[in-house]
Symmetry: C2
Subunit: 248 residues, 2 copies
DNA sequence: CAACGACTTTGACCTAGGTCAAAAACGATT
DNA sequence: AATCGTTTTTGACCTAGGTCAAAGTCGTTG
């Protein structure tokens, strides 16, 4: 079970934690760096920030100061339409890098909101560019992370553009499952940090549809859901749902 | 009107054209570089490639060799689902940079197909990384281009996730219009290079819906369409379509 | 522990867009 | 100019998912 950030108020040893000693080292920005490079990156990532549940890490329109690597917690990013409609563009967890949308115009193009108390490492962007000119491995890994975001986005387009409700939700659950697994948590049992409405927004569906499809999955023995808690009971069947082409 | 690549077979002077003399200089990778940097980039971009209508620039799964800047022509990129479903992830024209999805895994994650005869400049990726370590302005602009792709993708998510058919198509036409304008072509009159089916795939709709909505726009006096030729006759009304929130 | 608000579930009904089918229009080729 | 294949248009009908409404469940706070 993913436990939330340690509730102890301020722990000096933890505040001093650096990339080189971080358990997310191999998932996060410094993945694959040698120890010399890692020491440099320790200096790059100099500040932590706590974002309380419901609070914003940054707002659309705000100036780019830094990129943010999530240390613990859970966030969503939302694109806004002028008329107030909002589209969840992604859910982010430990090791994920946020804020890359802002590099283009030096202003954030989406909101980042904490879905539970979250701790992030601040990565001053100007300094990251400078350092990545000196450290080819850092440079390359940063490029890989931006590219990975593009690939992820393509996956979401595929989801939104050509899958039906059941497939979308199956893909969503499998994606969460796999990301939890990659972080050492259970791949079969986890808590959803977001509401049905937020899942719906992400998947281009209404919250009632999410609720109904989850119920149907449960009836069919694919999962068991109780509120935010999900247990995948038939992984193969869930995978089969998105594999086959029911249309055409 | 955008004229296709010169049909003369091989023109040596054109083959020798370099970034510093390219009319797309300010849209493309070298945007904003000083003349010293530009001279370096001239050496970086050493090869051209012609892709005939219907041919692939690269395939999903293929190894990343280079990024590609479009000099002339028109392309689409498609994400593939294992079951054969395909989702058009984007349409690309002169000055656009393609292939950034491949940096993440060193393999392309989508297909790139020419919708008309297209000429691209090959940008060897390893060399681009090397050069951008030496030229901060190139480095920064490259980052901006990757970020711009992420922002574009967020826009597509908004489109697919929370807009209805008419809004999607209006947004699509306005986007094309604006991109043609940025390249010195008419913003109000242009040829669609893609089929109704490809538009539909991009917008998460069926080709019949595209056809119907285009006809409706024409009846309402927003545009006039004849096959691939589109003329925007009421820009304001088209804009108004995506501005207001008809639902909720 | 009562009460409130936020979230979820479920049912009944409706509609935007999908599906199927047929005809028309085009463009490339002979 | 005739033919073929591709693309587009339009109509008739259908269904997945949206909408509206009501009841149930939870966590939080006084």
């Amino acid at each position: 079970m993913a436990s939330p950030a340690n509730p102890k108020p301020v722990d000096v040893t933890r505040l001093k934690t650096v990339c080189s000693a971080c358990s997310l080292r191999e998932l996060c920005l410094p993945a694959g760096l040698d120890s010399a490079a890692l020491a440099e990156v320790d200096r790059l990532v100099n500040r932590r920030r706590h974002v309380k549940r419901g609070d914003y890490l940054y707002h659309a329109g705000g100036a780019l100061q830094a990129l943010y690597a999530i240390r613990s917690g859970f966030m969503k990013s939302c694109v806004l339409h002028e008329d107030g409609r909002e589209q969840v563009a992604g859910f982010h967890m430990m090791g994920d890098l946020m804020g890359m949308d802002a590099i283009s115009t030096a202003r954030h193009m989406c909101d980042a909101v904490a879905l539970e108390d979250t701790e992030v490492c601040e990565i001053p962007f100007a300094y990251l560019e400078q350092l990545s000119r000196e450290l080819p491995s850092l440079q390359h890994h940063f490029h890989r992370m931006m590219s990975r975001e593009i690939v992820r986005d393509y996956g979401v387009m595929l989801l939104l553009g050509s899958m039906k409700a059941e497939e979308r939700l199956a893909a969503f659950l499998l994606n969460l499952s796999q990301r939890f697994a990659a972080r050492g948590y259970s791949s079969s049992e986890f808590n959803l940090r977001m509401t049905r409405e937020e899942i719906g927004s992400y998947l281009g569906l209404k919250l009632e549809t999410i609720s109904r499809v989850l119920s149907r999955f449960q009836e069919d023995g694919l999962i068991s859901v109780r509120h935010k808690h999900v247990k995948i009971t038939d992984l193969a069947a869930l995978r089969a749902l998105i594999g086959r082409a029911p249309c055409q």
